[in-house]
Point group: C2
Chain length 443, copies 2
């Protein structure tokens, strides 16, 4: 901390939960930010004057913590939030989602719905999301405008998809997207998203892997989401989905395996050996009745695991605080062991571990000098936060997204005192309501 | 609707979810209230003038619905919110909660903490809670001041308890509480709460049953919460906890069985035959790893089932919207069937069914003419609510307590535009923070 320096932003009057490797906590701490990066982190010495800054963010005696990292979203699916609930997964996907997508997903609707999702995410403390969908260029424009950090991937399937009528162009369309966005905006990391081992052929998977390696970008893939998928791949390929993907060279580092609900111990060992990150979307996997992903086993095997909301057509919100709460409690009751996944370990799944799972472990996920300044403050002066014996516990078991007061991404204030500064929320919600009126009247 | 009448309150400009037997919904509906009761409910005819009223509540094009009914709380345990997490149930209860209670629970701390809980409940849309604890007279005073509707019961155990040093006076203390509060405040319904079949002797249970019958009040009891309890009672009494309670005459109508996680099909049939209500506290049962209560089986057997938050030392908040979300999703993944417990049925578990479970089915739980005016409005003009294809689905899968804007109990406005009118929230949270500083420094 340089006394003669004037910082861009200084956070003060809060309990700093760094989420660093030691999980250091500073009572009444100070975090200084300049040039988009964290320059210093410390507790406030009594009588200290605050460092000079162009902008002070007073945490109001609440919590200052790293922004949450949502490792799996389909932001544009906000268009279909709650359109078809309480249905079997395959009927939900094939009779409802694929049909609605074929008719209503276009460049403009994707942009409008993604912008809405980013508003929702930022307002509830998510500063980074890892997304996969079609017309992902429109998602990137929405992310650029919203001010969120985003790992974005163009979807690849072996049938006609929105914006990719000819499936022979699935991988090349994804490559075009990566080329268009790589290095363009520092907050936006383009990549490729193969939908799953049951919707992509071996040829497609190999080709996507090769393209991702060439570009040095993340390859995302849904895998082992349902019992049915495991049985199908076992029958067709003679191994589990994870083993099959490994056998054709798809699994290695810079890969994100999404769901992995039915990963066996052998699968887990394979994922760990190849340095694959895992994204678990607890609420979506509960609502669609996919199953309970073996997170404790993943962690024991040393895997990097992050939580994600999935698309809000199967959740139905994008509140990462809820995702933590569901994850902690689900595993306790599933194993009939209340000591499984204690609060701090779950908090890591939405911060430092999540960042590592999507390949950004050195860049974000904790409040540490040199990392990007992706920081949120939490208003704890509320009845449901009182009293507070252990802030980690409250962040997991008590908090909700609406407790977030300020959000900084990349050193820029995007939410101030609960108001989003990067867009006109009323307009953004109206735009999506306009689409929903058309969708509703066509049903 | 009498055109010449001036109502106390008229709700308008909202989608009315009545939660009546037909689950009628009125677009842009109008609800008229006078003398604490609902006088009329209807859709707004185009061009209609609003009825005359002393006060209008504009729902802002959001939702108007019955206030939520929390069928199991220990409001005063807010004192210990998050004090001891991620521990086995018996260690949590015996090493932490009972010890903390013996030292810190007194008339004043119970009053202060209950008042805080009622603030939290009202602000998140709960208009009725069903509570059990010690010094319940102080809880009743807090409820009276807060303006919440409350079924309150004095706790009974066979060992020294806060305020009841001599366990021989356990039932008589409860009877004294009932006598002091019966008929005193129309919103407050006193009763008796036997802790469990493993902390109360047969003699105590029979005596409490007799006293409850004599007073015509509700008898609450925790039952079949854990596998361990079932094994213990089976060994000592030769039957399941439910069968044992039935064999000694404890089960009949005006009884609330709380948890019933490990109720067998035979137990369920017994509960149904005796007209017992059931309270399930999903989040608490998940966090303490008690198990998954067989709600679909209860409903098939025709039982009245309500959700509850349990004390916020084991949850750790009292947000009934979250409780619905957890309940719907948990059962889907537990049964690997996404069609189980659809949104509307879960909404009933927090409104009309919950009211029936605690014996108030004719009084509250829906927006119907003649019932008490316990009504809330929900702000749906927010990103996480957009778009809205099905309001029932959004109330369960998307909503959170902070979406509640106005709360009326007994025809009185207790929360207006997110601000509680019956108490000084800052003072109330400070009072509990004061207790928590003492508790923390003594650890």
């Amino acid at each position: 901390m340089n006394p003669s320096e004037t910082y861009d932003i200084v956070f003060h009057n809060g309990l700093i939960i760094t989420a660093n490797g030691n999980w250091d906590v500073h009572e009444k701490g100070v975090v200084c930010v300049s040039g988009g990066r964290i320059e210093s982190v410390r507790g406030e010495a009594p009588g200290d004057e605050l460092p000079r800054a162009r902008k002070y963010i007073d945490a109001g005696a609440g919590i200052v913590m790293p922004g949450l990292v949502n490792t799996h979203s389909h932001a544009a699916m906000a268009l279909f939030r709650g359109l078809a609930d309480d249905l079997p997964l395959m009927s939900w996907l094939e009779d409802h989602m694929f049909k609605a997508e074929a008719r209503w997903v276009n460049r403009q609707s994707v942009f409008d719905a993604a912008r809405l999702s980013f508003a929702e995410m930022l307002l509830s403390g998510t500063t980074t999301c890892c997304d996969g969908y079609f017309f992902e260029g429109a998602v990137a424009r929405a992310a650029q405008e919203a001010g969120i950090r985003a790992v974005l991937a163009q979807g690849v399937v072996d049938f006609s998809a929105p914006g990719v009528p000819d499936p022979r162009r699935n991988v090349s369309t994804a490559v075009d997207f990566v080329r268009a966005w790589q290095g363009k905006v520092s907050r936006i990391y383009p990549g490729i998203f193969c939908h799953s081992p049951y919707t992509c052929s071996e040829k497609t998977l190999r080709s996507a892997r090769e393209a991702a390696d060439e570009a040095g970008c993340l390859l995302q893939i849904h895998v082992a989401e349902t019992k049915g998928e495991v049985a199908k791949i076992q029958e067709e390929k003679g191994g589990s989905p994870v083993a099959y993907l490994d056998s054709i060279g798809v699994l290695r580092d810079r890969t994100l395996a999404v769901h992995a609900v039915w990963a066996s111990e052998e699968d887990t060992a394979l994922l760990a050996a190849q340095g694959v990150g895992v994204s678990v979307t607890t609420e979506s996997e509960m609502k669609l009745a996919s199953g309970v992903a073996p997170i404790p086993g993943f962690l024991d095997a040393g895997l990097s695991v992050g939580l994600g909301t999935d698309g809000c057509a199967s959740n139905n919100n994008q509140d990462m605080f809820q995702e933590m709460d569901f994850t902690a409690k689900l595993h306790k009751v599933h194993r009939l062991d209340p000591t499984v996944l204690h609060a701090r370990s779950v908090l890591a799944l939405a911060t430092r571990d999540a960042a590592a799972a999507i390949g950004l472990g050195d860049e974000i996920g904790s409040i540490e000098v040199g990392k990007w300044a992706d920081i949120i403050t939490i208003d704890t002066k509320q009845p449901h936060w009182t009293p507070m014996y252990d802030p980690n516990s409250h962040l997991v078991y008590t908090a909700r997204g609406s407790d977030v007061r300020n959000v900084v991404v990349d050193g820029t204030i995007v939410v101030e005192n609960r108001r989003i500064r990067t867009m006109d929320v009323e307009r953004v919600t109206e735009d999506v309501e306009g689409w929903s009126r058309k969708i509703r009247s066509s049903k």
